[in-house]
C-alpha cells in the first residue's frame, strides 16, 4: 500500500497554536451516540468543567438508564450506573456519605420525568447539594422512539403513530417549571445545544450549577438541556436542531427559570 504521507513536510504544525482540543477528562473513545445527537456535546461540556475546575479526583457522576446509560464509558471520573429513574436517589446516597465530593446526575426525560418523577421531586425537596443534568429530547431513544413524558402534543412516535393525543396520553410535562416552585431547588435553567452560541450558554449554566455545589449554596442546581434525537425524530441533525429552535422552544422556552436572589 502506498503511504501518501511519506515525504510530506509537516513543519508548520510546530508553529501552530492549539485552538481546540478534547478535554483530557473526556476519554478518547468512540461514542455510541447517533450522528448529530446532543448527548455527546453535553458530555463534553461537563467534562470541560470538571477539567477547568480541577475536580476530576473528587467528582462522582451517576448515569441513568436510557441513551446515556453508557456515559461512564466516556467520562474519566468515578461513576455509578443507577436503576431506571433512580439516579437522584443514588446520588443522594453518595453525597450524604461523602459530602465533600462533587456529585452530579445525568438523566433523560423518561428516566427523570416519568419513571423517576418521585425521586426527582423528593431529591429536590430535600435540597440535596448536587447538580442534576436533564436531557429533554422528547423521546425514548434507546428503546426505539416511544413517546416520552415531554413529547409535544401531536408528535408522532412509535407509540403515538397518530401523534400525541393529550386526552389519551396527557400533556407534555414541564418538569423544570414544576420544580422551580420548590424551595429545595436553588438554580433552575433550561438551555439547548442547537448552535455554537447555545452551547456556550449551556456551558455557562453548567459552570454556574457546579459552582453552586462547590460553594455549598444549598439546594439542587438543575440544568435542563432541550436536545435532539435525529434518529428517533427521523430528521437530519440540522433539521432536528432547526425543529428545536423553531418549534420545541415555544413549549419549552429557554433561559433561567429560577436564579438565586443576589445578596
Amino acid at each position: 500500500m502506498t503511504d501518501f504521507t511519506e515525504g510530506i513536510q509537516c513543519d508548520y504544525l510546530d508553529t501552530m497554536n492549539t485552538v481546540w482540543e478534547s478535554p483530557p477528562t473526556l476519554l478518547d473513545t468512540q461514542m455510541h451516540y447517533c450522528p448529530g445527537c446532543g448527548h455527546s456535546v453535553v458530555h463534553r461540556l461537563i467534562m470541560e468543567i470538571v477539567q477547568e475546575f480541577g475536580i476530576q479526583d473528587k467528582t462522582i457522576g451517576v448515569a441513568p438508564v436510557g441513551c446515556a446509560v453508557l456515559a461512564y464509558n466516556y467520562m474519566d471520573i468515578d461513576m455509578q450506573q443507577a436503576a431506571h429513574g433512580r439516579a437522584t436517589a443514588v446520588a443522594t446516597g453518595i453525597k450524604r456519605v461523602l459530602p465533600d465530593r462533587i456529585v452530579f446526575t445525568y438523566q433523560g426525560d423518561g428516566d427523570l420525568a416519568a419513571i423517576g418523577t418521585g425521586e426527582t421531586i423528593h431529591t429536590i425537596n430535600r435540597g440535596e447539594n448536587i447538580v442534576m443534568v436533564f436531557i429533554n429530547n422528547g423521546i425514548y431513544g434507546m428503546t426505539g422512539g416511544q413517546m416520552a413524558p415531554t413529547t409535544l402534543e401531536g408528535s408522532v412516535t412509535s407509540t403515538t403513530l397518530d401523534g400525541r393525543n393529550t386526552s389519551l396520553h396527557g400533556f407534555p410535562i414541564k418538569i423544570a417549571d414544576m420544580i422551580a416552585l420548590m424551595p429545595g431547588a436553588y438554580y433552575v435553567t433550561r438551555q439547548s445545544v442547537t448552535t455554537a452560541k447555545a452551547v456556550r450558554k449551556t456551558k455557562k449554566a453548567l459552570q454556574k450549577a457546579f459552582t453552586n455545589q462547590i460553594e455549598s449554596k444549598g439546594g439542587v442546581s438543575f440544568v435542563e438541556v432541550v436536545s435532539n434525537c435525529p434518529a428517533g425524530w427521523k430528521m437530519t441533525p440540522l433539521e432536528s436542531n432547526e425543529w428545536i429552535d423553531e418549534t420545541i422552544i415555544k413549549h419549552y422556552p429557554l433561559g433561567d427559570i429560577k436564579v438565586p436572589e443576589k445578596g
Partner: protein, 358 residues
Amino acid sequence: MKVLMKGNEALAEAAIRAGIKGYFGYPITPQSELLEYMSTHLKDRGGVFIQAESEIAAINMVYGAAGCGVRVMTSTSSPGFSLMQEGISFLACAELPCLLVNVVRGGPGLGTIQPSQSDYFQTVKGGGHGDYNIIVLAPNSVQEMADHVYLGMDLADIYRIPVTILADGALGQMMEPVEFPEYDVESHKVDHSAWATRGRVNGKRHVITSLYLEPEIMEKINQQLQKKYREIEAKEIRFESIQTKDADIIIVAYGLVSRIAHKTVELARADGIKVGLLRPITLFPFPYRQFSDISKNTDFILTVEMNSGQMVEDVKLAINGEIPVEFYGRMGGMIPQPEEILEVIKEKQNQLSSRKKV
C-alpha cells in the same frame, strides 16, 4: 451488661455499633422502631439518617452509599421488601456490600401487620430479576438480632454481597435482654479502595454498573457471581442442632418458629417421644449437607413454618426422598403453639404407623 430492648431497636443499636455511615429507610409496621431509633441516634454517632420517600428510593440510596465503600443499611417489612427487589438485584450484580432487614408481616397484598415467614421465597431465592443470591440470616431471639447485624456486616464486606436479616413481626416487637458484644469497627474494616467510587482513588477511575451488553461478558459476570455463591455455601453455613442424635422425629424450623419448636421438643420428650430440632440459621447458604447427618431410620421430618410451606421445599431437596418430609404451617400472621405442633407430630405418627400396617 444486658439491657432490655425490642428486637427492632437491638438491630439498630448493633448496626450503629458496627459503624454504619448511612441508614436509608421508610416507615412500615412492624419495623418502624428501627427507623425511629436510627433517626434519633445515628447522626450523633457518626452516620447519616434519611427518611426516604419510598422503599424504592431507600434501596437506591443504599446503592449509592454502598458504592462509596462505606457500611450502609436499610430496613423494611414485606410490602416494602417487594418494592426493593429491583434495587437488590442491582446491588447483587454490582457486588455492593450492605445490610438489609426484612421484618416480615403476613401477606399477600397489604396483608396484616402480624408476624409471618411468608417472604422466605422472596428473600432467600432472590425476589428480583436475574440469577443471584444474597446471604440470608435468620435470628430467633433479640440477642441474635444484634449478633447477626455484626455477622451480616462482616459477611457483606468480605464477599461484597447484600446480606439480609430475615426476622418477623414478633422478633421485631418483642423485648428480651440483649448484650452487645465488644466490636472494634476498625479491625473489622475491609479495604474497598480497589473498586469503590470515592473520586478516582489513586488516580484510577472506578465504575459501578450492572450493565454488560455483550452476552459473553454477561455470562462471565454470572459465572463469577456463581463462583462466589459456591464459596459462600462452602464456608458460611450456620445451623443449630438440638437433640437430633437419638431423635425419631426431627422438626425443621427457623427464626421464631424454632423457639416454639424447641419447646415442643421438651414437651414431646416429657411425653416419651424422641423429637429433635434442626434449625437453619443461614437460609442462604441453606444447610443442605447437614441433613445428610440425619439418620435414615428417622421416622419423619416435620417442617414447621409460619407460611404455606416454603422452606419445606429446601428440606425436601436436602432429604432427597430418603425420609418422609411432612409440613405444618400457620398463615396470615398466626403463630403456632408448642402444644399444637406436638399434636401434629402425634397425628403424623398415627398416620404413618397405620400406613405401615396396610
